[in-house]
């Protein structure tokens, strides 16, 4: 007689899988990736390919030879780390450097904690920060996009954030610096020097909204992150607009959109509940502005995310979901 399967309830499953989640994230990043290919050409394609392939290869080798476990490459998380790492570097970065960055991201930040789901810090950001502090020159020399900067002589290779940072240090006024960078609308659409994935805030926003629509991420982190950037930098701007930059500038430049929708929202390294996520996002926003305004680096999103990653276990403990019957309306 045929034996029936016996198992605990429930007996049906909603069909969402890790693979589906990860490949949807890849799909959401695709427009910004294609834009980086368009703006930066072959260099971008090479660096992205190298980042993705090396991330996948390192994960495979470590799972097989060090952890001696069944490979979970099909889940696509290594591909995401690779793309995100490439998004965070200039297209002119030497290939060996991006491979080294991949090794740090996958080997150190992800697999040493036990692989997918176990890492406390966002692997791609660990990779980027490692590269930034080890190879500051290569990591901050950005190719000049002719469509973007008509006055290329004056500002060769710096990002708008870098231009503003340097200018303010020298004592230039904000208004004079604003003439040296593209308009906010141009920067929002992609007319923006910088890392490969940071060029088009608009396409990143589009991908992010797609993820929210698909219920892969929720609105909490992006909204609180972006809002805290606006509010925190807005306060200083209102105090003195000649020393502190317009909050909208902070919103459309650098890694803010990338961070808000793709890096800070990484499920593994962000809090589980809405309330925790709101605090998490607000913390990233405030830290970003502190680093941008007073720090040594022009950009602070990655540092801010890493710092807040460290706080996640506490946020999870402090902000429990609303329990049923806690706020009772008993008779």
């Amino acid at each position: 007689m045929k034996l029936l399967t016996v198992s605990g309830s429930p007996h049906i499953h909603g069909g969402l899988s890790v693979e589906k989640v990860m490949w949807l994230v890849v799909a959401a990043m695709a427009p910004a990736m294609l834009a980086s290919f368009y703006f930066f050409g072959m260099g971008a394609i090479k660096v992205t390919l190298a980042a993705v392939l090396s991330a996948v290869l390192f994960e495979y080798l470590i799972t097989k030879f060090i952890m001696k476990q069944k490979s979970q490459l099909g889940d696509g998380s290594a591909v995401i780390t690779g793309i995100l790492l490439a998004f965070n570097v200039p297209s002119t970065l030497p290939i060996w450097m991006i491979v080294l960055g991949s090794l740090m991201a996958i080997g150190v930040a992800k697999m040493s904690f036990g692989g997918l789901g176990k890492n406390p810090f966002n692997p791609a950001i660990v990779g980027r920060v490692f590269l930034l502090i080890s190879f500051p020159v290569q990591m901050t020399s950005y190719p000049i996009i002719e469509k973007v900067f008509p006055m290329q002589d004056a500002i060769s290779g710096a990002t708008p954030l870098g231009i503003v940072k340097e200018g303010l240090k020298k004592g230039d006024s904000v208004s004079s610096l604003m003439d040296q960078i593209p308009s906010f609308t141009d920067m929002f659409l992609g007319m923006n020097g910088g890392s490969m994935g940071e060029v088009s805030a608009f396409l990143l926003l589009l991908g992010g909204l797609f993820l929210i629509f698909k219920k892969i991420i929720t609105w909490h982190i992006p909204v609180s992150f972006l809002a805290s950037i606006l509010i925190f930098s807005g306060i200083f701007w209102l105090i003195n607009p000649e020393v502190y930059v317009n909050p909208l500038f902070h919103l459309v430049t650098g890694g803010v959109m990338l961070g808000a929708f793709f890096m800070a929202t990484d499920m593994v390294t962000s809090p589980m509940t809405g309330k925790g996520q709101l605090i998490f996002g607000a913390g990233i926003g405030i830290l970003t502005i502190i680093i941008r305004v007073w720090g040594a680096y022009p950009e602070g999103v990655s540092f801010a995310i890493l710092l807040m990653n460290a706080v996640v276990p506490h946020l999870n403990n402090a902000f429990k979901p609303k329990r049923f019957g806690k706020e009772m309306k008993n008779v």
Binding site: S7, S9, P10, L16, G117, V268, P271, M328
Partner: protein
């Protein structure tokens, strides 16, 4: 639309109500029936018949033992063949009465006609006694002995009687069909229950995927100003007692408390019909409506089934392709229990028999938790299944208790939604049993 629903978590699985609108048919009584003694929540019943005894339909064959317990009545007439342990739907051997069927002779005093009797002659105390005499248990699946709910402390009469006609489990349609065919009896049943409880108002909660039942019962309840039908948004697990009260009244029962603390008593609509039959027809609970459904079933149907009939007979009657079936579930797909053998009997708690296709019978491969928090988002009790699962596995019983593991209603929404297909509920059940053991030990000391 602004339909009512509960306030925390919830999911919406495909409804798959394949047997919707199928008229209730009788299942032929086989030559032999096997009646397990553990058909209700609480203590099993005690046989009071002996081998060789002749019994009639509706005759008492097993006594309730203890407070949370229920009597069992013979579903058939014939001769007691044996009393011995038989494998029941849980897969364990349980004491059962086996009866060889001879004819269909009903015990005296039972009204087996379909005539509607509206006048309620019994008083509140007599009604509760009668519910107890007739062995009525909650027919939604939990099989809690019904009379216990009607023993209300002096002066603590509930404000509301809530009729659970949600049927939020996918596939199941027995309650829906019962409302369509026995609406008038259900309304009389409600009046009986209100009288027994001294309740001021009744709300019938029905999910909005049963608009015909909502319209039908609303019309029948027109004269009763204190009976109201409310449409609910389709959302699982709305049929959970706590979720239903929250949805209808916005009142949330505190952890570990009973519905009476928020002024409510909740009964399933099937139970309401059984109470009508017990009080007005003097008919004990020995048959119930069972949905037989699933994709391998060619004629998904709703049947009136005597207790003790093998589940195999139901599947055969509905033309189930057993070669294509990998799993058979007693109940719905979310909270029902998979049964090891279809030779097990239908009991008072069998709300449905669901056949699952081979390819959907196995669980998916378990992956690492990616900390997406979806289990927490959908948990209708506001718990953290990912956390409970881990600490339960580690045997941290005190921590489990602090994290309110005993509040878990085992609805399975967390597992349904988990992208890593983690066995969250298996671990939580383990934790719950360890924690309840710990709590019992504490009270012993």
């Amino acid at each position: 639309m602004g339909l009512l629903t509960f306030n925390i978590g919830g999911i919406h699985p495909p409804e798959n109500k394949l047997s919707a609108g199928m008229a209730i048919k009788n299942i032929e009584i086989p030559k032999q029936v096997v009646i397990p003694m553990n058909q209700n929540l609480g203590a099993p019943s005690q046989p009071i018949v002996k081998r060789g005894d002749m019994v009639k339909v509706g005759q008492l064959i097993a006594e309730a033992k203890g407070f949370i317990a229920a009597k069992i009545h013979s579903p058939v007439s014939g001769k007691v063949f044996k009393i011995e342990p038989r494998i029941d739907s849980t897969g364990f051997r349980k004491e059962s009465i086996i009866i060889n069927v001879e004819g269909d002779e009903w015990a005296e005093g039972i009204d087996s006609s379909d005539t509607l009797i509206k006048d309620i002659t019994l008083d509140a105390f007599q009604i509760t006694e009668k519910i107890k005499e007739c062995g009525i248990v909650g027919l939604g699946g939990a099989t809690f002995p019904s009379h216990v709910k009607y023993i209300v402390p002096e002066g603590k009469n509930p404000e509301y009687l809530i009729i659970n006609a949600v049927e939020c489990e996918p596939y199941l349609t027995s309650d829906h069909q019962l409302m369509m065919e026995k609406g008038e009896e259900i309304i009389v049943g409600i009046r009986i229950m209100m009288k027994a409880l001294g309740a001021k108002k009744t709300i019938i909660g029905i999910e909005n995927n049963k608009t015909d039942a909502i319209a039908h019962l609303s019309k029948l309840a027109e004269q009763d100003s204190n009976i109201e039908v409310k449409a609910l948004k389709v959302q699982y697990p709305q049929g959970g007692e706590k979720q239903l009260i929250d949805a209808l009244l916005g009142r949330q029962i505190q952890s570990g408390k009973l519905p009476l603390t928020v002024g409510c008593v909740v009964n399933n609509v099937g139970t309401t019909f059984a109470i009508y039959e017990a009080i007005q027809k003097n008919k004990p609970l020995f048959e119930r409506i069972v949905t037989v459904t699933g994709y391998p079933v060619q004629n998904p149907s709703n049947y009136r089934v005597r207790i003790g009939i093998p589940i195999a007979n139901l599947l055969q009657e509905a033309n189930c392709d057993m070669d294509a079936t990998g799993k058979v579930i007693n109940g719905g797909p979310m909270m029902g229990k998979s049964i090891p053998s279809i030779d097990a009997s239908v009991t008072k708690g069998t709300s449905g028999v669901l056949a699952i296709r081979n390819e959907e019978s196995k669980r998916h491969e378990v992956k690492n938790c990616i900390r997406c928090g979806k289990c927490t988002t959908v948990c209708p009790m506001g718990l953290e299944p990912h956390l409970l699962s881990i600490i339960a596995r580690m045997g941290e019983n005190e921590k489990c208790e602090q994290e309110l593991i005993m509040d878990c209603i085992e609805c399975g929404s967390c597992v349904y939604t988990c992208p890593s297909s983690r066995p969250l509920l298996d671990n939580i059940r383990l934790g719950k049993s360890n924690v309840s053991f710990m709590i019992r030990q504490r009270s012993v000391k």
